[in-house]
Symmetry: C3
Subunit: 270 residues, 3 copies
């Protein structure tokens, strides 16, 4: 299956394996063995265990920063060893691969991609070599990523499928009306910034902005953290493509008592 | 000591240094300086401080996934700066190096290796350059790994020794009889899966399986997590070569109140 | 801006982003895209949020272990998006870049560097491509590091400035007199070792050593951890260039109730 060697491609990784156990290291060892010369870039291995939605957000927010021919592998896989499919999504040249459980859903809905193709790559599970039933990340998906990174064509391994048939996420879409927006907290980062499921720019530049659920009072609509008043909360266009609730050098999550998944409501002068 | 340059080799790392302090970064900086072009793969840096047995398990479970000529460095080193030896174990072409305190013991007992040779590499401590007394991982072992990865021959640096003379672990072997097995918890992973010191397959396919110490009731002998009943516990052949107590998408460690090192007993219909 | 390609350089990274969020992965993705072939080495991403002094210590203690032409990027950036400058410090061939907020202060005071030059590189913020207001680490500093790593000359991008004009740290210098030294805890590592702001060797080899603030009793002046009596505390020349309070295989921080920044006083026979 080896081709005339193209230059080595970058392989991105997202998992919920953590970095304490040797699991990620074993995946990277397999990649070193099967795709020598390829650069491996960790996006995050600290996805909350089994949290497909969080990994889907990390993937959708990150893939466009990779080289144009990167292969990105997402493994949050409660169904490992059962008959769930393995799928690939080619988004503008980058190849995203994952168990078919919703991990690709946000990247797939990505409105600004010029070209999206999907493939059923479950045939990768039929490899002749020893495959565990509990660690397909190492034994199936890493070898698949290596094969793709070395120039393997997804169409040679599996058939092209309709991207709309990929498993989707039970995704609650935001409700945006003049003067009011309801959404939820997509992610809380290390600094306590609360990423909302409201795309950057979707509210225009609101004045008289308030957080009404949970009751939170006035918010500065700010360009960056340093533009917010000391200790006062604000809403800004975050670096991940979504609006963020933030407090300069403090935790907005703590200040508003917010957790991942919580509902929020914003109001402003319409 | 430089040779006709062979292709760069992969260097694996296991330490108890954590990733918060700059220690691992300084080791990797030394590797970048002394072995440019070599790929460095972290297995884990989150071994519990001074826990040689845990690191020995991580090493034994991981080395075979690396390229056939990899150099793997394990540093859990409470005796740093004292007169403990530095040793190398060549297992089927891969070179494992570590302070001689038991870190290589599990890999050395590895039954399925075709060739095992050991070397006393303590001469690496005699380097002319500045060597700290408290961080041999950076100042002695990383340069040694770099030298080996660039093609250095262990026999040129130190004498070959009998692998049986390496420091061993106070390892309690499992007691397996018809219908009953006593062992202990080797490791608890991020998901709460309890890796036992019972090799995969060592019980056959038991029926009527129960956890009797600690009192735990029936266990499904399962192929993978998804095959276990919702919330019900099971025993399966884990990806690390050992049997694992697991609960589908929950923590077996919490459910049974198990910690690393705890004794367990399994019973089944003999 | 591309040159005759010199061999790829190593890029070091220090941030307070943690490894749970996808931020570091996005920075590395940008580096993979803009500086393919360059090796990226993480020093630490677990600097306490906004703790410029801790990152400055990590940087000063680590840069000299890198290859002689490395580019090292430090991002702890509470002022992101405001008009703080971006600066570069060339220390004996290695290029350190950071927001101008004190991150380079300890490396800059480094007494044993033969050559130190500083540059205002704020022009990197004028890039034509999309730049977020909240994540200059990914959108400004990583591309700048890539450009420098590929051979870009800092003098072509910004003007040389007097290193003394860089923002300094509110650094409390130790007070060392015959028989008495006052300082503070610079860093507490994973093992509970307390790194003091007293340079290694600055006390000579003291006899009758005691920790007087906080009240702590006698200390062994030891060469390495294993030379200290079991459970008894000691002072030693640590691997980071400073004296460390340590207890063999235990936490000195816990034993003395010390936290980062706490004042300490040592006394000995003058």
């Amino acid at each position: 299956m080896k081709k005339e060697t193209p230059p080595p491609r970058t392989i991105g990784l997202i998992t919920d394996f953590g970095l304490s156990d040797p699991y990620v290291g074993q995946m990277r060892a397999v990649l070193a063995r099967k795709a020598p010369g390829c650069l491996v870039v960790d996006i995050s291995h600290d996805v909350a265990p089994f949290n497909v939605a969080q990994a889907a957000f990390f993937l959708a927010a990150s893939y466009e920063h990779f080289p144009a021919d990167a292969v990105i592998l997402a493994v949050v896989d409660p169904g490992v060893g059962t008959d769930r499919a393995i799928v690939g999504l080619e988004v503008d040249g980058r190849m995203l691969i994952a168990p078919d459980n919703g991990l690709l859903a946000l990247a797939q809905k990505n409105a600004w991609a010029a070209s999206i193709r999907a493939f059923d790559l479950s045939a990768a599970m039929d490899a002749p070599n020893r495959v565990s039933h509990t660690f397909h990340g190492r034994d199936v998906l890493a070898p698949l990523a290596a094969w793709l990174a070395l120039g393997g064509k997804p169409g040679e391994l599996g058939r092209e499928i309709d991207p709309e048939t990929l498993v989707s996420l039970p995704w609650s879409h935001p409700d945006i009306r003049p003067g009011r927006a309801c959404g939820h907290v997509l992610h809380i980062d290390r600094f306590g910034n609360c990423v909302l499921n409201l795309e950057a720019g979707s509210l225009g530049v609101p004045t008289g902005l308030r957080l009404t659920v949970p009751a939170g009072g006035g918010l500065t609509y700010a360009r960056t953290y340093g533009d917010m008043p000391e200790g006062g909360p604000g809403l800004l266009e975050g670096s991940q493509g979504f609006l963020e609730l933030a407090v300069n050098q403090r935790s907005a999550a703590k200040q508003f008592g917010l957790s991942m998944g919580d509902a929020i409501e914003l109001a402003w002068e319409a």
